[in-house]
């Protein structure tokens, strides 16, 4: 089922002269893992910002479940429908790992209402990405880059979003954790029917992808198979 669709999207940063993305079209389905590859500066992260609702495209349209992103509440979209794993984690540094996750659940108005139940769910998610309870109760500032990356992954999954978007999610992980994270991501798509879009340079990530999309100089080089 088509979950996200990009139609003729072009994007230029404020004050910039050239388009970072040039007339891109693509569609993404639930139950699949998409890998977006390309050189640095090709426009991969910009594309992720647009489909995660963090920014809005100048030309063209993006549709989520058939609804134009321009017409939906993008805050609510980010809070409920999409989980973003940032390359630079973007966590609340003065808060604990567990609090970062329960806060995300609060913002998304999660189905889990009780405070302790939310906390238990946060421990559960963190445990899934290899963070034990003691580490979960530490402030983000005191965690290593790899641990922060895993907290970012757990946070993205905390509100059970339909779309999971990740920017280099395994960039700071060791081989063992990378494997387990890739298994989680694969299961999200293939068992939980989520749409997973990953920007990556890793061959291990592209190996689990159902479709690989290549961007070069703001243009799609290889169209996904379903277009």
């Amino acid at each position: 089922m088509k979950c996200l669709e990009i139609r003729n999207v072009s994007y230029r940063y404020e004050g910039g002269t050239d388009n970072v993305l040039k007339n891109i079209s693509a569609s993404f389905e639930s139950g699949k893992v998409y890998a977006i590859i390309g050189q640095s500066g090709a426009g991969k992260s910009t594309l992720l910002s647009l489909i995660s609702g963090l920014d809005i495209c100048r030309d063209g349209d993006i549709y989520y479940n058939g609804k134009n992103m321009r017409k939906i509440d993008r805050d609510e979209y980010r809070a409920k429908n999409v989980g973003v794993i940032f390359q630079s984690y973007n966590l609340l540094l003065n808060s604990t790992a567990a609090y970062n996750i329960t806060l995300s659940m609060n913002i998304s108005d999660s189905n889990i209402k009780e405070r302790q139940a939310k906390k238990n769910h946060a421990y559960f998610l963190l445990d899934k990405v290899g963070i034990d309870r003691e580490t979960a109760d530490r402030k983000i500032l005191k965690l290593s880059g790899g641990e922060q990356q895993r907290v970012g992954i757990a946070r993205a999954l905390s509100h059970d979003p339909n779309v999971v978007i990740a920017d280099e999610p395994t960039g700071n992980l060791d081989a063992k954790t990378e494997k387990s994270v890739l298994e989680i991501i694969s299961r999200l798509a293939h068992e939980d029917n989520k749409c997973v879009i990953i920007v990556t340079h890793s061959k291990k990530v592209t190996a689990i992808a159902d479709e690989v999309i290549s961007i070069q100089s703001g243009q799609l080089l290889c169209k996904p198979m379903n277009l």
């Binding site: 910002s49 963090l54 920014d55 805050d75 609510e76 979209y77 980010r78 809070a79 409920k80 973003v84 940032f86 390359q87 630079s88 973007n90 966590l91 609340l92 540094l93 003065n94 808060s95 609090y99 806060l103 995300s104 609060n106 913002i107 998304s108 946070r155």
Partner: protein
């Protein structure tokens, strides 16, 4: 609900900045409290003094005119039966021109004209004056008026300076928290909730400072007033009291200060797009 909890937790997480903000708010509230307490109390004392002196009417001959009929002691006593008189103090006096000192306390200061008209109709000669003590008001309350005006000027300075410092601190503080706001917005928290959280933080700090400032202000008002009044000629002992007007005034000032900072936060957040904040930081 989680916004309130998040804001309260944030108070502890950013201790250094919040303590600095709290100290400044506390200083402003305490200074405003002291000046407002002095301003209100002196205002009340001035008003009461004016009222008391305005009611106090002295009836005495302007000069000795030989051959003119003078007013007898009994006549002075009969004037005290006027409906305008609350009480009278009539006594023989060696210092007064006619040997009688007659003071009438009217029910209201504005009854003076009617009272004089009544006395004239009852035979009080034109050579006698009917004068209220209001004329000596300035001599009695001159220093008090100075203190009253000084406290008002100081209050205005404190408020302007306090507001200026608060604006400056808020602007610095909000820039420090740019990243945090960016993360919350990226997670999907709405602008109004982010702004509400920041506002709750500042309101909480202000409430704590309000309570502390009230205590400190109550303790400091009287000694400060005494120091100011010391050394002034004809000084009056003013008992500085904290009344509802003062408390309401300080509450208003506290809300004003919190609103200024809140307004700055909200206007800044309204301009912020999460992607810009996070991109700039990264």
């Amino acid at each position: 609900m989680y916004v309130i909890r998040h804001a309260l937790l944030n108070l502890g997480k950013n201790k250094g900045r919040n303590i600095l903000l709290g100290v400044i708010i506390f200083a402003v509230i305490t200074a405003a409290f002291v000046t407002l307490a002095i301003f209100n109390t002196t205002g009340i004392v001035i008003q009461e003094t004016r009222y008391t002196l305005g009611r106090m009417v002295r009836v005495a001959p302007r000069q000795i005119v030989y051959g003119e009929a003078s007013v007898s002691f009994e006549q002075f006593l009969s004037f005290a039966e006027s409906e305008y008189v609350h009480e009278a103090d009539i006594r023989e006096s060696r210092t007064s021109i006619n040997g009688i000192e007659a003071i009438y306390y009217l029910k209201q200061p504005e009854m003076l004209t009617n009272f004089e008209a009544e006395l004239r109709s009852r035979g009080l000669p034109d050579t006698y004056s009917v004068v209220s003590e209001e004329l000596s008001f300035e001599n009695v309350t001159g220093n008090l008026e100075n203190l009253h005006n000084l406290s008002l000027t100081f209050l205005v300075i404190v408020l302007i300076l306090g507001a200026f410092i608060m604006v400056l601190l808020s602007a610095i503080s909000i820039r420090e928290r740019k990243y945090e706001v960016g993360v919350l917005r990226a997670m999907g928290m709405k602008k109004k909730k982010v702004a509400l959280g920041l506002w709750i933080e500042i309101i909480t700090i202000t409430c704590i400072c309000f309570a502390l400032g009230m205590g400190a202000g109550t303790m400091l008002s009287q000694p400060i007033s005494d120091v100011i009044m010391t050394g002034q000629a004809d000084s009056i002992n003013v008992n500085i009291s904290v009344n509802a007007i003062t408390v309401m005034g300080i509450l208003g000032i506290s809300i004003l200060l919190a609103s200024i900072t809140g307004f700055i936060s909200v206007s800044w957040i309204n301009k912020c797009e999460p992607i810009k904040i996070l991109t700039e930081r990264n």
